[in-house]
Amino acid sequence: MTSSSPARTRSWGWIPVILLSLVIGAGLALGATTTNTFGLSNLLTFIYVALCAATALVVRRVTAQPGNWLGRRRVRRVVVLLVVLSCLLMVALPADGLGGTVLLLLLFLALCNVVLARATAQVAVSLPRPLDERQGSLRDRGYRLAYWLLAGIAGLLALVTYFAGSGARAWLGTALVSGPFIAFVVLAICLPTMIVAWIEPDQVMPAPPETRSHVWAVRVAAVMVATSLLVPLLAAIGVEVIPAQATQLKRYSSPAPKGSGCATVRRTTEIGFWFEARFVLDTEVCWNGHRARYLYGMNRSDCMASDWVLVSISTSQCVRRTKSNGTVEFNYTAWIHPDVLSFLARRLRVSVAVDRNGKVERTK
């Protein structure tokens, strides 16, 4: 009997990671390209997608052993339960409440998938040949159970469709394009790894020492994974904390007698970085020393953002009025929610006021 070469675990953990990254990146890119004209934000979005893809490739090349902490079955089961809870949350979300919350959940699931892939030494996503016999049988059992679980879920849905009333069918119709569908896809990708993580006993500790280059490769991969997950969160927080940038332009439209005149007033307010919104108030105002009046603009139709990237905006106030002292004033107040961490909200007030002498009085 010949002694074969040592079994090496070839890493295929990048497949679920790259799929999830592509889903996230495509969602971000779609959101960024369809609702705005920000050149820099589009560039940042594509850089982020490239970062996700590069992270997946680096994770692919680094095969990390579970380590003392992730080697414990109890810890692995906690991570599996977190994935299940995230999927249940995704199922429970209303169809119109998707968007930012789903992106956040997908980011979290991507992190959990990386953790589980490491905790199981990528057993469930490796090709058969590099695994030893125990790992192979473990992987086979994981896929067998995952198949039956997914088949059970699909069968249950088919039964519901067949026997249930129109209400349940309507829910199913919505589910096929919303959270439950995404949860099903996530389970289809991650379930074998989750099952292996659940059933594998506590691992032998301590792990053998790793070479210095391998340790550094693991650190680089960990930093890239953390960056990929943290950057959208920081951008979302930036919507809340970065001060609004305002620019103002006043351009006289025509020469006029002293004390009267007309001018185009444009006020641009930008908020956030990458996850951002731009509000433009554009109006032409005339004044005669007694009162100011607007020629165009400053209507309710102006109460909307001109561009936005990965944020949602709701208008709370849109007021135009002429004061008793002849000043014309326009106030626009909106709530801005980042698509990731959508429970955060920032109140922004944009205001333009032109007095009876043509002076732009007060802006916020």
Partner: protein, 101 residues
């Protein structure tokens, strides 16, 4: 033989009967680490750990490979019954001969 819940193979489902072994003792005698033994027989080092803890039953091929490495018959390493200490097994025939005389 005690059937173990979930299978002694750590859940892989390849068997339901525990196979006892002396791998830990033999490995210690030869001053091999789990990693070195795993390299020598071509498996993951975790598999050696599960074998030693009785949580995995090896295939016939792996059992023969271990027997070849330790230069012992397979039945000296693996058994379906709980194994007695090696010293007891070594000296038992002498005692039996003395008793017979």
């Amino acid at each position: 033989m005690t059937p173990k819940r979930g299978g002694p193979d750590g859940g892989s489902g390849t068997g339901s009967t525990r196979i006892y072994n002396r791998i830990a003792v033999l490995r210690a005698e030869r001053e091999l680490s789990r990693y070195q033994l795993a390299e020598a027989v071509g498996v993951n080092y975790q598999t050696i750990g599960y074998l030693e803890r009785g949580e995995y039953n090896p295939s016939l091929e792996l059992a023969l490979r271990l027997a070849e490495l330790f230069e012992l018959p397979v039945e000296a390493i693996f058994s379906r019954q709980p194994q007695r200490p090696m010293s007891e097994e070594l000296y038992a025939p002498d005692r039996e001969r003395v008793d017979n005389k």
